[in-house]
């Protein structure tokens, strides 16, 4: 059973990162702007999902697969930081500040919202 769970983590984890690549790519090429909207949408939607998953009170394996594997691979902290540094290189101070503040504040709100929805389901 444990082996099956770990195989599940590998597959779902891979799927999560592919989904991020597709969502981020679609948004970024559509907006065509230097502000990283794609990563912001990915991280905020991931925060809602993770809040939802923890709100649902799943069993241990379920939480591992849905939380760590799926949402963990879908969201990205490193890309958020990387793109913030790139905004700094381009002297995009308003964009830089917005990227940090909006991600943080809206992220916490999104996670709380997800948890609230999850506990009602």
């Amino acid at each position: 059973m444990t082996l099956l769970v770990w195989v599940g983590v590998v597959l779902i984890g891979g799927g999560g990162s592919v989904l991020r690549f597709l969502v981020d790519g679609a948004i970024a090429s559509r907006t065509g702007r230097s502000f990283p909207y794609g990563t912001l949408v990915v991280n905020l939607s991931g925060a809602v999902l993770l809040g939802l998953v923890t709100g649902l009170v799943l069993n241990r394996d379920g939480a591992l697969l849905a939380g760590t594997a799926a949402v963990g691979s879908y969201t990205t902290f490193s890309t958020w930081m990387f793109e913030t540094q790139r905004l700094a290189e381009d002297r995009q101070v308003p964009g830089l500040a917005a990227n940090v503040v909006v991600s943080l504040v809206a992220g916490v709100v999104a996670a709380a919202l997800g948890k609230m929805i999850g506990s009602y389901l």
Binding site: F21, D24, A28, S34, T39, T76, E83, D90, R91, Q92
Partner: protein, 360 residues
């Protein structure tokens, strides 16, 4: 000795493949086998092509398939022979042929051909670790150009290429001493002619190309709009036009670096393509040559944006360029006598040279 040469330039995506190998590798393998005296592979920072997909190193996902530019210069006969070999490579993107003059070996005092008198684009090729009196060669060349009153120079770092016919590919670990770099400078033919013998004295194995250009803008001031070119020449072959916009990472338009704003505006205007190449050293006007610093937040290096299109589109694109370069930047226009666009099996254009020469 001045040789009449051709410059073959390809614009494509980093991930384009030719069968199992990357297109960039197949091309450079070919340049190495043919012992092309000088060829350089450059990675772009941002751009879009025929399919209008934006690629940028600003965003992780969109930096997946960044633009690549490969340049190869050789005598006319040898480039024409190379074109036959290139047809066997599965190619996507844009390929252009331009006229250039090459100087190598002993460069003494010289008389430039008449058509190079007005404005000239000079490209000096040096190795990454090449040194002149213990100073990096690219820095020594920039210093010389700056002291001699050339308006600006941009140093582009090659990642692969051939130098004096020898293939030199940059490795992750290694000195990469001979991997070629390009130093591009634009100036009056007279000033360039004066600086050439000095370059010949400075470098151990000098290799320089000269191309005729028209300066359209200088430090934000409009000099002259790009000469209108006919869409086809006398023999019915398409003529294309190229704008090169030299700016700095520091130059902002509306809070955005000029080259980024430019690529985005051109993309939404329906232009056929644009590629921004980031330099690693250079200067504009009075500011002394510089690169990036180790501890810095904002970048300071020069950037070149290349726009190739049909003459009527270039006129429209120049309006956007003009609007975005009101304070900074040098803009030049050149005729591209042969262009081929290749997207999958669709080939549009022919790599035979259009003989048209624009009126002065």
């Amino acid at each position: 000795m001045i040789e009449d040469c051709l410059k073959l330039t390809s614009y494509f995506g980093e991930r384009n493949r030719n069968g199992r190998t990357f297109l960039a590798d197949s091309q450079l393998d070919l340049f190495g086998r043919r012992e092309i005296p000088i060829s350089v592979l450059l990675r772009g920072a941002e751009g879009f092509g025929l399919k209008h997909h934006l690629r940028t190193d600003r965003l992780l996902t969109l930096s997946e398939d960044l633009p690549i530019v490969s340049v190869a210069v050789d005598t006319r006969a040898r480039i024409e022979a190379l074109l036959d070999d290139l047809r066997s490579i599965e190619h996507r993107g844009l390929v252009t042929l331009e006229r250039a003059r090459m100087l190598r070996g002993d460069i003494g005092p010289l008389q430039l051909p008449d058509d190079l008198h007005e404005a000239t684009k000079m490209t000096v090729y040096v190795g990454r670790q090449e040194r002149v009196y213990r100073v990096p060669a690219f820095a020594a060349v920039c210093d010389l150009l700056h002291r001699r009153g050339i308006a600006g120079a941009t140093v582009l770092l090659g990642v692969d290429g051939t130098a004096h016919g020898q293939r030199t590919r940059a490795r992750f670990i290694g000195r990469n001493a001979d991997v070629p770099m390009m130093i591009i400078a634009v100036g009056s033919g007279e000033r360039i002619a004066r600086v050439l013998p000095e370059l010949g004295g400075l470098l151990r194995r000098p290799l320089v190309t000269l191309e005729r250009v028209q300066v359209c803008k200088q430090e934000g001031e409009l000099v002259d709009r790009p000469h209108p070119l006919p869409a086809v020449d006398g023999t019915g072959m398409a003529v294309w036009q190229k704008l090169m916009v030299y700016t700095s990472e520091r130059a902002l338009h509306d809070g955005q670096p000029v080259h980024r704003a430019l690529v985005r505006r051109l993309r939404s205007s329906g232009a056929r393509g644009a590629t921004a190449l980031r330099g690693m050293w250079g200067f504009h006007g009075e500011t002394p040559p510089h690169g990036d610093r180790l501890l810095q937040l904002g970048r300071r290096v020069p950037v070149v944006t290349i726009i190739i299109d049909t003459p009527d589109r270039i006129a429209a694109s120049f309006d956007i360029v003009d609007e975005l370069t009101t304070e900074h930047g040098v803009v030049t226009s050149e005729m591209v006598p042969a262009t081929a666009m290749i997207a999958g099996d669709n080939r549009d254009g022919d790599l035979r040279l259009a003989p048209h020469r624009p009126a002065r």
